[in-house]
């Protein structure tokens, strides 16, 4: 803003005048003749015409279609199995092994309800198999729900442990003791227990080892979530706090088998605390590691899923599932991306051809006009 502001407007005096007392030092007001100031910077002028964009369309088509095919194949190679644990919509639900549990169970129930769901695999699952639980119609992304947590408390801040953030209301205190971990998210922690058995052709059940370590993000486990007081005795640390109202066990008793997996750094807990993006989601529950020998991780055959049904989903008309899946370099099974790539690629290719025709029709005309003139 080199100024509209000339001293003449002010009072009729030119401040710049101090400079030239003598006639020799006359300052020239001529603007600099530079490319920038004269707006003559060398520039690339992309003009989009059928002729110029043609290659782009073909190139996109040529790139996208192979990628799409690759993605599609990859996605198809992923093996996935879904076992419904509740189902309201189908009338057959009544025959579902967990029907009773799902109907009767509520947060107030004291006695756990168990059910076992049989299923079978048509093909063996190789490499690592990931076991998820899935919930539907569960709005973990609701604003009030998402907010209802205290990150400092979860990060091991002792002050926050004793007086959690107001955002946790009404799951902030119970019986005048602060809740640890506070808030609605923690309160609604998924607490079913799933166990998987392989039924040998001879009828005997083999428990499949489910690994619960490594299901949470590394950063969450080691940075974001920390127990207050480090490695002190958790019972002491959490003294004076109350467990969330829906919980059966205190936070420091979540995993009796592994003392390092208790408190805020319990991996199941951490996974739950990472609120899902969409109302239908799955969360990683266990990992079934690949066996060292050549046998598949999960051979084909019959299985039984033993469910300790603690988590009622009826209240929000939710559905509960168990998913077994292998994963690839681009995540879980999802054919959408591959199909989308192929579609977009083909559309581009098609448009490229259309443009080619247009270019022949109009581009030539323009061109000939040039020559004629």
């Amino acid at each position: 803003m080199a100024s509209n502001y000339n001293a003449k407007e002010e009072d009729g005096h030119q401040p710049a005048a101090i400079g030239h007392g003598g006639a020799g030092t006359v300052k020239n007001k001529k603007p600099d003749n530079t490319a920038f100031k004269q707006q003559r910077l060398p520039a690339w002028q992309p003009i989009l015409t059928a002729g110029t964009v043609l290659p782009a369309f073909f190139v996109i088509g040529l790139i996208f279609i192979p990628i799409g095919i690759g993605l599609f194949v990859t996605s198809n190679n992923i093996k996935e199995l879904e076992v419904t644990l509740t189902n309201y919509s189908v009338w057959l639900a009544i025959f579902h092994p967990c029907y009773n549990c799902s109907q009767s169970y509520s947060w107030n129930s004291t006695k756990p309800c168990t059910c076992s769901v049989p299923f079978s695999l048509d093909q063996p699952f190789e490499s690592n198999v990931f076991m998820y639980y899935g919930l539907s119609n569960f709005y973990q992304n609701h604003r009030r729900y998402v907010k209802s947590r205290d990150d400092s408390q979860l990060n091991g801040d002792k002050a926050s442990l004793k007086s959690p953030s107001k955002e946790c209301e009404p799951y902030r205190t119970s019986d005048e003791k602060p809740i640890a971990p506070c808030g609605a998210i923690a309160n609604s922690l998924f607490n079913d227990t799933l166990e998987l058995y392989y039924i040998d052709p001879n009828g005997s059940r083999t428990a499949i080892p489910l690994v619960k370590k490594g299901i949470a993000w590394w950063t969450d486990k080691h940075v974001k979530f920390r127990n207050p007081g480090g490695n002190d005795n958790l019972t002491v640390v959490f003294q004076g706090t109350s467990k969330p109202v829906n919980w059966r066990k205190s936070v420091y008793e979540l995993d009796p088998s592994d003392p390092d997996n208790n408190g805020f750094i319990n991996e199941d807990f951490i996974v739950w605390m990472r609120t899902a993006a969409l109302p239908t989601f799955r969360k990683l529950y266990r990992i079934i590691h690949k066996k060292p020998n050549m046998t598949p991780t999960l051979p084909l055959g019959r299985y039984i899923l033993e469910v300790t049904y603690n988590y009622p989903v009826r209240s929000f008309e939710g559905r509960k599932r168990m998913i077994l899946s292998t994963i690839s370099w681009m995540g879980g099974k999802n054919p959408f991306l591959g199909i989308a790539y192929i579609t977009v690629g083909s559309v581009c290719f098609f448009l490229g051809i259309v443009l080619l025709i247009i270019h022949h029709k109009y581009g030539n005309r323009n061109h000939s006009a040039d020559i004629r003139s």
């Binding site: 509209n4 003449k8 009072d11 001529k30 060398p42 003009i47 993000w217 993006a277 969409l278 989308a340």
Partner: protein, 1284 residues
């Protein structure tokens, strides 16, 4: 001259003094009286502060001011809303970031502006002047800010007046002093000021101690031309005070050694400061359009929020067990209501508030570029374009009507003597013509030099020619810096109408030879001397028949030494009797002049030098000063003629009220007694002076005036039998020459004289005295009296004066017309001149049909005339052959046409004409015309003018342009843009206007697009989170997305984008039409953009949605690819939209993207517990390590941009716009470019021909060619019939 007729505003704003008095009393500050001292103290001091803020008050005051803006209120409202717990969407501290940023940017801008003002204030307050000090009994140096009302200030020549003061003493014996008001109104001619009348003489200088008078005057006001009051002497005698007693602040004392004055107004109460109003604020058309669309955005926002609110209510009602999920128990309806406000916060970005700040920044940068355009640099005046209005740059690109003044705007207003005819003999002044050519050429070279930026020898010579001039203009601007020094001879005083071009007239050698006879011993060839009388009389008339003020820079102008001891005795060779004989009209022997001329040619070839020698030898006292004489004329014609006379050694050396001092060749200085001046008026169209001839002692009347008038008056020579033949011959010849001159486009003036016998004169004098003294119809009587005198004139000859068109005016006008701009010329000149100029500048073409509307009588007649003209136009339109119509309206008719019931007809008629010329129009009429067209036709208007009479028109128009030329700065002061030449208008509109408009329009559209696109992502998410106002992005990233990550590219886009190169834009004015029709920003474009934004946001949301549906992705992991692809889409969208990409674009685009990615990455690593509930720890780091992320981003980006990409490609191939065709041409190599350009012009011509408008020849771009004699000839021929 309208020098002091500026609109009086704000006068009523302070009718009373602070103390409630209606008048101000001023006494000497040396007074002992307590009470009076108190009064003096109550007046404001001379310290000026134009700054808005002080150090302490800046923050509160600036905040307060900014909060006045609606946009900022909106921001604050949002920020406050965020502090309400039930609706808060983000952390409160995040939500105040936008408002803080916007406020900070504006505050910094304000601070910077204020600082500059502060600096200039400080400089001005620190200037030094001499004030009388009581303690030391003498004048001491004081700073300006210490000057108070009642102080005595002594000023010397060339000092600037520090405050408004009453002139009490002048070193001039007549008690006058001269001031130059250039700083105030830009007028460079000196104005005379008078010491207060009847002031007791106190010896040599005024002694402040003895000053006991009391001054009563009106309260400070802004009327420069009025000052009323009286001074009461101790003797209780009162003397009236007038404007010509007042020295105004910031004027400069000239030609007077010392003046002393008493300060009556100081500081902000001075008239100069009261007249000082800041830059103008106008709202541009684009901005008005923008505001409509902002309102649409608001509507959109409300709709979206309502949708969410209702959705949330319904969702909540369907939810059975709320407590499990949502930890509160508010009813669905109330929750919905709260949610409405939450959504307003979440979607706030939809209202492009930062757009206003961005537009301001972009406009500032656009102005920076306009001001730095080398093509607007004028080497003569060393001036650039001045942009005084900051916010209407884009209006330049939408102008539909241009209203132009004529003199000084289209023409140079530099009247140059070109040739003359004396006693029927033409002196063609070939040399002079060649000289003018040289100036022209130099100018042309100079301009081509700037255009092509290549140094050439020609332009260097041009510089050296102009250096005198430029130093001169510097001098006027910086006069005060030389206050202490004696005026240096290298800086001759600048005055109006005296550029070297006007002054250095090359005499015709033939005429010079004839004149030499005067001083040669052979001069008594009878017939030759007969002719010589005519010649001498002719130049005498040129020299004295005017109102020119003579001055020399070193001396006070009226004290020309010659006047005191008059010196007829100095006549060199001849006795008085000889010369008397010379001037006796000879009878009879007019015989063959030809032969005499031949004889003359063989006369002493060195006669001229003899003349010089004789002068140099015998008239030494007058000679040295002669070269430095400066003529200050009211009109440029006068100056031109005086300079012409001077070139023939017939020099006007001095003027007082009663005497004129003239130097004649061979006779030295003569004092001529001036008896009367009968000033010019438009009815008589002539002026006369009545003098007593110094040699013959006869009363002689010299008259000059319009040819038509003088020729008539000279018709019947008194002694028909004696001089019939010669006079008849002269008249015949002169008329022939006059016609020639007119054909050449020269302004012609006839010179005549009349010798009065003393009895005749006495009779006339009596009646004239009666007329002068009469009170009733004095004007009429004076007119009559003048007419009585100006009869039976003897025609001496005629002059031809060039008022050259400014360079490239025809080209500019033609370009504007091709650009679809209608050009109207509004001038105060007479019809013939106006038409003449209109022809010369190609406003009127040979094929045009000229319609003249002159009606003096009645409204009805006028209406009938207008209707008749309209039917004629309609007929003409139907018939083939005529190219267009040009309407010429005179002031009288205009008066009728502007009336309520006729203006419709007038507009309808003028709308159909290609050009309109309004002649004889008053300033007020000019502004009425502009207003009428602007309001009734709803078009964008531009007014351009150079003089005070154009001020009102400039102010009324949407865009006002001032030409800083010869007539002062008033037009400039009231304009939005000030240029120095008319031709600059071409580039200003066609290039800068076009650019500014397209850039800004595109940027605004892009802003809307960007906001809608991004905000809709959040909106779509609401459908998947129970309409709860959740966002899937970290709130910092969300806020910064608009503020930081994507704000710089559109700014750069708005500043630097260039759809077509400047060259092409100038060559193809048709491209301007896209801006005129608001092509770049139509409502349909807006909605298309919105639709595209909607589509893109859908793609950008749903591709990730389907890619992540049912997976274990958490909210932020889901948001991460959405955000990243949104960024890519938004940036690449701009690449598609940009017409040029420079390294700056690449830098900013890549920088923005890198900034985003590095910010999110770093944030996702560092931020452990920050920004709940959207803590980003680990999210982006993890996401960016996954191929899926990139897969999603790539697909989303491509799919989102596909339609626009395709749309552009298809449109550009199938039906390319003109702009695009031009842009394509830019890319061709020079050869093809030229061919295409020709082809374009041909097709344009053809299409126009089809549209029944133009002839093809006009469409070629011609090489500059200024006077255009050929065109003029044709034009004359074409219009002649209509005129007669």
């Amino acid at each position: 001259m309208y020098s002091l007729e500026r609109p009086v505003q704000g006068q009523s704003s302070c009718p009373k003094d602070r103390l409630g008095r209606k008048r101000r009393t001023v006494v000497s500050s040396l007074t002992e009286d307590e009470e009076l001292t108190e009064i003096l103290k109550s007046y404001s001091s001379n310290k000026v502060t134009t700054t808005k803020y002080s150090f302490l008050s800046f923050i509160p005051k600036n905040l307060f001011e900014q909060l006045h803006r609606f946009a900022n209120i909106y921001f604050i409202f949002l920020a406050a809303l965020n502090f309400v717990p039930v609706v808060n969407a983000f952390q409160p501290e995040i939500s105040i970031i936008p408002i803080l940023l916007v406020l900070a940017v504006t505050a910094v801008k304000d601070l910077w502006e204020d600082y500059r003002k502060h600096k200039s204030d400080k400089f001005i307050n620190g200037l030094v002047c001499e004030i009388y000090s009581r303690k030391r009994q003498m004048y001491v140096d004081q700073r300006w800010q210490d000057v108070h009302v009642g102080d005595f200030v002594r000023l010397s020549c060339n000092e600037i007046i520090p405050a408004d003061m009453l002139l009490l003493y002048s070193s001039d014996p007549h008690g006058v002093c001269y001031i130059e008001t250039a700083n105030l109104d830009g007028e460079t001619n000196l104005k005379q000021r008078q010491v207060v009348r009847d002031l007791p003489r106190q010896g040599s200088e005024l002694t402040p101690e003895n000053f006991h008078s009391r001054i009563e005057c009106e309260n400070p006001n802004n009327d420069l031309s009025r000052f009323r009051g009286f001074m009461e002497y101790p003797s209780k005698a009162r003397v009236g005070l007038h404007n010509n007693n007042l020295l105004l602040r910031s004027c400069t004392i000239r030609n007077t050694e010392t003046v002393i004055g008493i300060v009556v107004y100081a500081g902000h109460e001075t008239k100069a400061m009261k007249n000082n109003n800041g830059p103008r604020y106008k709202r541009s058309k684009l901005e008005r359009r923008l505001n409509v669309d902002v309102l649409w955005s608001v509507v959109l926002l409300v709709i979206m929020c309502l949708t969410a609110a209702i959705g949330h209510g319904l969702w909540l009602r369907n939810l059975k067990d709320t407590s499990f999920l949502i930890p509160d128990t508010t009813s669905p309806a109330l929750s919905g209501f709260y949610l409405f406000w939450t959504m307003i916060i979440v979607l706030q970005v939809l209202i492009p508030i930062s757009l206003y700040v961005s537009i301001e920044i972009v406009k500032l940068c656009q102005i920076f570029f306009i001001q730095n355009d080398v093509d607007f640099y004028n080497e003569y005046m060393d001036s650039r374009i001045q942009c005084r209005a900051l916010n209407i740059t884009e209006d330049l690109g939408q102008i539909q009507y241009v209203f132009s003044d004529k003199t000084g705007t289209l023409t140079e207003n530099k009247m140059v003597f070109r040739r003359c005819t004396i006693a029927g003999v033409e002196y063609p002044h070939e040399e002079n013509a060649r000289r003018l050519e040289v100036y022209k050429e130099d100018e042309a070279m100079g301009c081509s030099h700037t255009l092509k930026s290549r140094a050439s020898a020609k332009s260097l010579s041009c510089k050296s020619l102009s250096c005198n001039r430029s130093s001169v203009s510097l001098h006027t601007l910086t006069g005060h810096s030389e206050g202490e020094e004696s005026p240096s001879p290298t800086l001759p005083q600048h005055s109006a109408f005296s550029s070297p071009m006007e002054k250095d007239i090359v005499p015709d050698p033939f005429l010079v030879q004839k004149l030499n006879c005067l001083s040669s011993p052979l001069f008594l060839l009878r017939d030759a001397s007969m002719e010589l009388t005519y010649i001498v009389d002719f130049f005498m008339a040129l020299a004295i028949c005017n109102t020119v003020v003579v001055s020399s820079p070193n001396q006070p102008r009226h004290v020309v030494p010659g006047l005191r001891g008059i010196l007829v005795s100095r006549t060199p060779l001849k006795s008085l009797e000889d010369i008397k004989m010379l001037f006796q009209p000879e009878e009879g022997e007019h015989g063959s002049w030809k032969g005499e001329e031949d004889k003359m040619l063989h006369l002493n070839p060195g006669a001229w030098s003899v003349l010089e020698n004789s002068n140099g030898g015998e008239g030494p006292p007058s000679e040295p000063g002669a070269d430095e004489l400066i003529y200050e004329a009211e009109s440029p014609d006068e100056a031109a003629l005086v300079h012409a006379a001077r070139a023939y050694r017939c020099t006007l050396q001095g003027r007082s009220l009663e005497r004129l001092l003239v130097e004649l060749p061979g006779m030295g200085s003569l004092a001529v007694r001036l008896l009367h001046i009968l000033p010019f008026d438009s009815t008589r169209k002539r002026m006369s002076v009545v003098v007593r001839h110094p040699l013959t002692n006869q009363v002689v009347v010299y008259t000059k005036g319009a040819d038509s008038v003088i020729m008539d008056l000279a018709e019947s020579p008194k002694g028909a039998e004696q001089s019939d033949g010669r006079q008849g011959h002269i008249r015949e010849q002169t008329q022939k020459h006059l016609d020639n001159y007119a054909r050449e486009g020269l302004r012609t003036l006839c010179i005549a004289k009349k010798v009065q016998t003393s009895t005749e004169y006495d009779i006339w004098l009596k009646r004239h005295a009666f007329a002068e003294t009469s009170i009733e119809n004095r004007e009429e009587l004076l007119l009559e009296s003048a007419q009585r005198l100006e009869t039976n004139l003897t025609l001496l000859g005629a002059t031809g004066i060039v008022d050259r068109l400014q360079e490239e005016v025809p080209e500019t006008i033609e370009a504007l017309q091709r650009a679809g701009v209608k050009v109207w010329v509004l001038t105060g000149d007479k019809q013939e001149t106006a038409i003449n100029i209109a022809c010369a500048c190609k406003l009127l073409r040979t094929t045009d049909q000229l319609l003249t509307a002159n009606c003096d009588s009645k409204v009805n007649a006028c209406k009938a005339l207008l209707l008749e003209l309209r039917t004629e136009v309609e007929r003409g339109e139907a018939a083939e052959g005529t190219s267009g119509f040009t309407l010429v309206v005179d002031g009288h008719t205009l008066d009728f046409a502007l009336q309520e019931d006729l203006k419709g007809d007038f507009l309808e008629l003028s709308r159909r004409c290609r050009a309109v010329v309004c002649c004889r129009s008053t300033p007020l009429q000019k502004s009425h015309v502009v207003q009428l067209v602007r309001d009734q036709l709803r078009v964008m208007t531009l007014a351009i003018g150079d003089g005070a009479n154009d001020v009102s028109m400039i102010q009324v128009a949407d865009v006002g342009i001032g030409i800083s030329g010869q007539e002062g700065m008033q037009a400039v002061m009231s304009s939005d843009f000030a240029i120095s030449r008319f031709k600059h208008l071409r580039k200003l509109l066609l290039v800068h206007g076009h650019w500014c408009y397209t850039r800004l329009a595109n940027m605004i559209l892009y802003f809307f697009y960007k906001n809608v696109m991004y905000v809709n992502l959040l909106f779509w998410y609401q459908f998947f989170c129970g309409f709860s106002g959740s966002v899937m992005t970290n709130s910092w990233v969300l806020i910064f997305f608009n503020l930081l990550f994507t704000s710089a590219p559109p700014l750069l886009y708005g500043i630097l984008d260039k759809d077509v190169s400047a060259d092409t834009l100038i060559k193809l004015p048709e491209l301007y039409k896209s801006g005129q029709n608001s092509k770049a920003y139509l409502p349909s474009t807006f909605w298309l953009t919105m639709l595209d934004a909607l589509y893109q946001s859908l793609v950008c949301f749903f591709i990730p949605y389907f890619a992540y549906a049912g997976s274990d992705a958490d909210m932020l992991s889901f948001g991460s690819p959405i955000n990243a692809s949104a960024l890519l889409i938004i940036l690449l969208h701009q690449v598609i939209e940009s017409r040029t990409l420079t390294w700056l674009h690449v830098l900013v685009l890549v920088g923005s993207a890198l900034f985003y990615f590095s910010f999110t990455l770093v944030f996702s690593v560092v931020c452990v517990t920050c920004s709940p509930p959207t803590n980003p720890l680990g999210v982006d780091k993890l996401q960016m390590s996954q191929p899926l992320f990139y897969g999603v981003c790539a697909l989303t980006t491509v799919l989102a941009l596909l339609p626009r990409f395709l749309f552009h490609a298809l449109r550009n191939s199938i039906s390319p716009s003109d702009t695009l065709k031009a842009a394509l041409m830019d890319q061709l190599n020079p050869d093809n470019y030229c061919r295409r350009m020709q082809h374009w012009n041909q097709t344009q011509a053809q299409s126009k021909a089809r549209g029944l408008i133009i002839n093809v020849e006009d469409l070629d771009i011609k090489i500059p060619d200024f006077i255009l004699p050929k065109e003029l000839k044709e034009c004359r021929a074409a219009t002649g019939s209509v005129l007669s």
